[in-house]
């Protein structure tokens, strides 16, 4: 692989990726959950087809643009898991004639705006906020939820499907136990909400999504579908959350070394904020960590360095790696080092494509 790399290149270990897909698909089967993976992480028709070959038919995306991209490859059951963006109503209308399209709303205005302008039928989830702050109606606002449902029902091209949440606060958890607690809390709230509405809407579904909960938990009472995304590649953030092992991480960035700074025991690589994104996690030394490092180790392939050697700073196209003195001796300008990214979704998006160890180029959704 390495001899062909001349600039930062994102490499995918396909067999790890297939294992990650199969493990989550198996968990969904075991708990009789619909598996509707979020495709915003890989954003690739090629990787999408690996999911299809395990039996997946329903998918999640984060934009109308992404729905169109995957619809072009024959996906016919797509949830756009983002508060619906009114200016894209015409695009949604076109998509609604091609297959089953579901949207999210958290307010009546959006329903009123979209409801009368569609050529086909669109499924509607109400986005519920349990604890994560970002968007949604609070799970306790029964009256508001009732009003939104009634507004949906007034439009023949809208069909109320149920309640959807994203427990994004699990990304702040400090232990597996804390993820479990947050997950149980979400389940409790969603099930209480369901009880209020199930008699009037016996087909209503509950959909949850975050990778930490879906990876860690084996309890999904009352839930109908899961929508994890990041698990397809995993990353250092998930590893720090104990949602995966380091060996479950399928992506690594291969970067050429361009400078050595002996006094600081640091090397500088071609590979910066535009390649990785500026997401970081807290390292054990209290500092910002932007990536873990593997270097070539004699003829035995590459070796993961302990977290005392790490990618400690990113500027536009430079990455600075702090190394132990022993590792520093091993690396010369022109060598390729491998860096495990902190956040797979942002890194894959920033790069716009990745290549398998076997050299297959995985094309991603075009930006325009």
């Amino acid at each position: 692989m390495e001899t062909n790399i001349t600039r930062p290149t994102l490499i995918l270990n396909k067999s790890i990726c297939l294992q990650n897909i199969e493990r989550m698909a198996e968990k969904a089967r075991k708990h009789q959950l619909r598996f509707r993976p979020h495709f915003k992480t890989h954003q690739s028709i090629d990787v999408g087809r690996w999911f299809r070959s395990t039996g997946v038919e329903s998918i999640t995306v984060s934009s109308v643009q992404m729905a169109r991209y995957f619809a072009s490859d024959g996906w016919k059951d797509i949830t756009i898991a983002f508060p619906f963006n009114i200016p894209e109503t015409d695009e949604l209308s076109k998509l609604s004639t091609l297959g089953r399209i579901n949207i999210l709303v958290d307010n009546r205005d959006t329903v009123l705006s979209v409801g009368t302008k569609l050529m086909g039928t669109v499924g509607v989830y109400i986005k519920i906020r349990t604890d994560y702050f970002r968007t949604g109606v609070s799970w306790s606002e029964n009256k508001k939820i009732h009003e939104i449902i009634r507004t949906i029902e007034k439009h023949k091209n809208l069909s109320f499907l149920g309640f959807l949440t994203h427990s994004g606060h699990t990304y702040q958890a400090r232990s597996k136990n804390e993820i479990q607690q947050m997950h149980f809390d979400t389940l409790g709230k969603l099930n209480r909400l369901k009880e209020q509405f199930i008699h009037a809407y016996p087909n209503l579904e509950l959909s949850i999504g975050d990778t930490p909960s879906c990876s860690v938990s084996d309890f999904f009472e009352g839930i109908d579908e899961i929508r994890p995304g990041n698990f397809v590649f995993y990353d250092l953030m998930q590893h720090q959350l104990h949602a995966c092992s380091i060996d479950d991480i399928a992506l690594s960035m291969h970067c050429p070394v361009v400078s050595k700074q002996k006094a600081r025991s640091e090397i500088v690589v071609y590979g910066g904020a535009v390649h990785f994104s500026k997401e970081w996690i807290r390292n054990t030394d209290g500092k910002e960590l932007y990536g873990r490092v593997r270097i070539r180790h004699n003829d035995e392939g590459t070796k993961l360095l302990p977290s005392t050697s790490y990618l400690c700073c990113l500027t536009q196209e430079h990455g600075v790696i702090r190394l132990s003195q022993a590792a520093f001796q091993h690396v010369q300008p022109g060598d390729i080092v491998e860096i495990i990214p902190v956040h797979a979704c942002l890194t894959a998006h920033a790069m716009g494509r990745y290549i398998t160890l076997q050299g297959e180029v995985m094309e991603m959704m075009p930006r325009f």
Copy 2:
């Protein structure tokens, strides 16, 4: 403009951009400096032509790929201001036959590796570290600098040009005065270095680059060329550094509102980390600020909100904006708000294109 915007769109105010270019070009003329603007900020052949029409003939880029892109539009004097990346030697060799190409080195190994493999002649700057930590040979390491120069001289296709530095630590300054201090310190160190070598190398040049110093200072003794880049657009980071006024910022991201969260007095827009990058500055309230906000104000156009209303959180495609209660009332789902980015270089790169207020699409360097 607004009626056509359906998803996050980066808008360029061309007249502000032209003013920024002219102001810096004038400063260079006044001080008899070669103006070699860094094109990594705009990464656009179209914007490059605006520079050309003010008389600019020499440019700076941050990668071999970017040199190739601008060479394709007829630029014939290009400095690749990045420690030379050995695996791209073949590409460099091709470029060396098309025009004047300069590279940076901070070690002998790179010189030895590149020196014998070039078809044309390549100019070489030694990258000097004054205080900024990233790459380069320390300005005080005379012996090492001598060795590198002698190694350059042994290769007939390499030509020693002088010393180049990037005072990136000015981005940490807290006042104009502090930028000036850092700039004077850099000038002092570079001029002392020049004194050591000018007799042996009477044509050697000094090249400096950062936008804060070039914007704030009017003192460039001993300097031959300046390479600022960010000034073409400026951004909130430069504004916080007092390197520009808020009205000098030429870019804004136009984002649709998708959710309102009344209890928190926050709105959520379609526009996230993949659009802005995750760069932030510290707001007056001590929190992370990812952008300042302009909203439509009756029929009088848009109005910049005080920094108590700001983009306070980014996830993959969501942006959360904290608003005063008064501003909150003014904004509805489907409206477009304008956000001034923290870091123009990363935002422009993340978007991959921008559009002028007049609707001209500025194409940028393709990713592959």
